[in-house]
């Protein structure tokens, strides 16, 4: 019984750890993107609001308290970044610019890292949910009030990014 309880607690702690990882990756992106966006600002004059939108979302993200709120902000940022990508597609002269290429690479890199941390989180949730639903662990989980955790929908979709086909001009 002690062994099972400890195992469940360890699995629950692992979920917290992977959630922290997502948070770290999101923070990294919020911190790095404005700097990179500044360097390409002069090239993206037609997208004046991008920079201020990133700043707004960043401050909103800092003020979030729940997982759902932070993921909502994350979703908005991902959509915003997608618009940057599409903007670049519309201006072929930008495609060869090194700063823009760096921005695109960074967007993709952060998206990959966030996607990886979200998948790690979902795997931790799967392990935890399994550990509290199998017999006889479900009895112990019931006694101590362990509840099932929700999976996270993967926001950054690799396939969608691939459709932009950046590599054709990198």
């Amino acid at each position: 019984m002690i062994w099972t309880y400890n195992k469940i607690v360890k699995n629950k702690n692992h979920i917290r750890y992977t959630m922290q990882n997502i948070d770290i990756q999101l923070k990294k992106r919020f911190e790095a993107l404005p700097n990179i966006a500044t360097t390409v600002k002069k090239y993206l004059t037609h997208e004046k609001d991008v920079h201020s939108d990133i700043a707004r979302l960043r401050s909103q993200y800092k003020a979030t308290n729940t997982k759902e709120e932070s993921l909502g902000i994350e979703q908005q940022l991902s959509e915003l970044l997608s618009t940057i990508m599409v903007s670049v597609e519309n201006y072929p002269e930008l495609k060869s610019n090194e700063s823009v290429i760096l921005l695109q690479r960074s967007i993709n890199e952060f998206a990959e890292q966030i996607s990886a941390s979200q998948r790690a989180y979902n795997n931790a949730v799967l392990t935890y949910n399994d550990s509290i639903t199998v017999f006889p662990n479900n009895i112990i989980a019931g006694i101590f009030g362990f509840k099932k955790e929700e999976y996270m929908s993967i926001i950054t979709n690799e396939q969608e990014r691939k459709n932009i086909n950046l590599n054709t001009y990198l």
């Binding site: 992977t18 990959e112 990886a116 790690a120």
Partner: protein, 397 residues
Amino acid sequence: MNQFSEHFEAVKKQASTIKPPSKLRFIGSSLLVLVSVLAFIIAIICFFVGIIVWVIQYDADLIFLIAKSSFIGSIGGWIFAIIMFRSYFKDTTKFKNTSILRRDFKMDVLPQMVASTYGDLKYQFDGIINENHILESGFFSPSFLTSLKERWFFGDDYFSGKIENVDFEFCELYYKTKGVTIGGWAIIIIIFTISISFLFRTDMDLPSLGIGEDESFFDTLEESKQKRKESIVDREKVNQKAFLYGTKTNFRGFFIYADFHKSFKGTINIRTKKKFGMSKMLSVSKTMNKVSVENALVNKKYTIRATDAQVAYYVLSPTIVDAIDKLSTRLGKHLSMTLKDGKLYLIAPMNKDFFENITINENNISVNTIEDIQNDLNAIRDLILALNISNRIWTKA
């Protein structure tokens, strides 16, 4: 490719003259063993019958003569059968190692075919991937008993260069060991145990085993290499098995070392769950974290462990996981991979010998066509493409 026709015609001509040893020799030897066993049984029966007859005071000379003759015949039969078996297996091994104008093919024909298919790809017929890369991959970490053996790698058909923007090295790899097998150690331990009991009974001192006197009890591959310098390195490509002592082929297949398209620090081991000859060699470190991916088939076929789960999921994107699934369908589920510090190491055991002008079958030698060789060459490109690592859109320069 018509310039190679002359070579293949000459090979075909020679191949038609080479035959495997007759199966009758094997059947004959087996029959001889059977007759020897029967003769031995007859000898034993006659011996006991003779004793009984002699006890009841009848003339048993004839029965003893039959027993004696049967026994001598049995021993003679055994000796003759062993000689016949040895001769048969020696000839079979010789047949399996047949080469026809191999040097001409590897030195003249194949390099031209490689150049016409891949341009500036480097090819070396007896080359091998840098041994450091092979060891870094972690596929060939020896167990305790294996570390006591002589161990060596040798390669064949080494390719290196760039395909579809991917830097890679490829070779057929053989990993062999020579020394006492598990069976051999079992016998040594039994003899040793018997000796110990004998020694205790006679109140004698135990001999020193030497363990602990030498700090480096585990033999390193370098030391193993030094030792074998004095002897000729066995480069036999035929699968070898050792009973109590001898040379054993632990791995025969291909090895790919490639630059991965993402930059990362850490190790991810993807190991086949299939138990076979390499199972011990491929054992994964239990200290690494187990990782499950979204593809159920990949989870079923492979054990994935990583130094860090975040890195593992970053490296094993859904695209790469699908690529592993496709590769395992094509190459068989025995393939294993290591992804370490931005590099990819892949091994797949194979019984087929690639890039040869002949294929040695059970009963004959068939000559490969130019198309067969071309297919082998195309397989390298297919493999690199299947790995899906050519799309370098990430942070890696």
